[in-house]
Point group: C2
Chain length 314, copies 2
């Protein structure tokens, strides 16, 4: 398959594995890139020397292109960028912040830059900042999310009509059917997070991977809206926050109860009660932990079968 | 096109116009049915004698099948059912309540019964109650909504895999692209509300129709979650409720402020400040008030073009 996304990244399939804190280190990124997709190292949960180690290991494990996800509000962002430049990482996905400043720095170094947004408004700002492509992420996505709560089905057509650069759909995609649906809406690639959390190569704690398999319909919720909206599994920590919110707790009180290190505690250390467990609604469709390459192959084959079926519906 | 939905209803296109309070009377239903889709009279905002009048007028205006939407918690439901039986309305869409009791009454009279739900759990209950098809409605839909907040993209594949009867997708659909996306996910029909609110034949107040055209990205929100979740345009009334919710207002206080007749005041009488304005997220894509037949034709043609494009993507 050739389209603007496969050409832009130099990959075989327009399937991107999302950069995710605590879940997507070099092993997952290399596995996805080796299988023909685009693997992404999630740098948001890494100290600068940890990112350097992951980039080195990823380069040793694959000759294919891979990317680093860079949250623009990360405190040591300059050190992360130094690592990216030093090791000539070819592609960077920026998120959670204003793309205006860092896009030009990265582009000047010859890096392909993609920005993750949850609205057309910010997609247009990213396009103006010079990024090469947009990830448009809907309300159903796991982890941090936009304030507008626009779902993938409503977001993708609006962004595709509104920008000239290619659009990668994210949020609610864990199957080839959903990939085909997003392509019908105008996307030229998909970014998949939750499905790859439950992969062999994901660095998530085993207890969290198993929890993802058990997550059913209605078991996640967009929480902490007064602080930063984040989709979580409804565990004990979520219930505590929910009870505070229903009583009208202030952003300060909520941030205090959140504290520091909750996501590490949950997703990396395996505390299923007190940790922050970030996953998308589509977890309800994930039934098995598999090698990343198998996941990618299944999605691609179902995508092809769905497109064939659609062509026959006319 | 022939599939289980067109066969079940005896219609040309698997496009259903949602039954909506204050917006879908006989004129809209007849226009959609005459154009080859399935029109639905929304009985939830009608006194029994008003429904009778609308059914009579609809029968005079079209020889094609049409349906009545019946909210199962409607206080005078027995009188509504009497009207449905008396005039031999061929199809009933039930919603907002338990389908267990009334489905058999309707089925015994030879009526095709469809139930509207927002989860697989309730879709299975409706199937067990004997309904002929399911409408699965995602979080992005306008008006009353489920507690799980599952989006259409996440909901449709799960329901299609879980039930044996055909599934009609709803929520976030106002174009042929979105229709194709839902068919890729496994749906065999689409139910479209918001797009038909902004039609010539809709009984919505002109001020509300115009308001729908002005509704942009992020301008609707699922509100009143402690009472009954409902997606509203963010107007003065919404802001009042939102401020109360942020301070931890009780369900009783919220219900008191909601009071009675808010939806009529907004959608039917045109009070854009104090009325309840129910519309879906997809309103941001609606740019023109048109005849219902033109809307249906455009959606169908874009659907066909999208399927053709998808078939060529393999």
């Amino acid at each position: 398959m050739k389209n603007r996304i496969t050409e832009l990244f130099g990959i075989e399939y327009p399937i991107i594995q999302a950069g995710m804190i605590w879940c997507s280190g070099w092993e997952l990124a290399a596995a996805v890139s080796n299988a023909g997709g685009l693997g992404i190292i999630g740098s948001g949960s890494m100290y600068p020397h940890i990112l350097e180690e992951h980039v080195q290991k990823c380069q040793a494990a694959t000759k294919q292109p891979f990317a680093v996800n860079l949250p623009l509000l990360y405190p040591s962002i300059d050190e992360h960028i130094e690592t990216i430049l030093k090791y000539k990482v070819p592609i960077v996905f920026t998120s959670a912040g204003n793309p205006k400043h860092y896009t030009s720095t990265l582009k000047e170094a010859g890096i392909t830059v993609v920005h993750v947004t949850a609205s057309l408004k910010f997609a247009l700002k990213a396009q103006a900042a010079g990024v090469d492509a947009i990830v448009s992420e809907g309300f159903e996505a796991g982890g941090h999310n936009g304030k507008d709560e626009t779902t993938t089905l409503c977001l993708i057509p609006v962004v595709c009509d509104g920008v000239d650069i290619p659009v990668i759909a994210a949020g609610g995609i864990a199957s080839g059917r959903a990939m085909a649906a997003c392509f019908a809406l105008g996307a030229e690639g998909v970014q998949i997070g939750s499905r790859f959390v439950a992969s062999i190569e994901s660095s998530a704690h085993d207890a969290f991977k198993k929890k993802v398999l058990e997550t059913g319909e209605g078991d996640t919720k967009l929480s902490l809206k007064k602080v930063v909206p984040v989709r979580l599994i409804k565990n004990q920590f979520y219930e505590e926050i929910d009870a505070m919110e229903k009583k009208g707790a202030s952003p300060q009180d909520l941030a205090l109860h959140l504290g520091r290190g909750r996501s590490k505690k949950g997703m990396f250390e395996g505390d299923m009660d007190n940790g922050e467990l970030e996953i998308g609604q589509i977890a309800s469709q994930i039934k098995e932990i598999k090698p990343a390459a198998d996941i990618l192959k299944e999605i691609w084959e179902e995508y092809l079968a769905t497109c064939t079926k659609m062509g026959k519906m006319v």
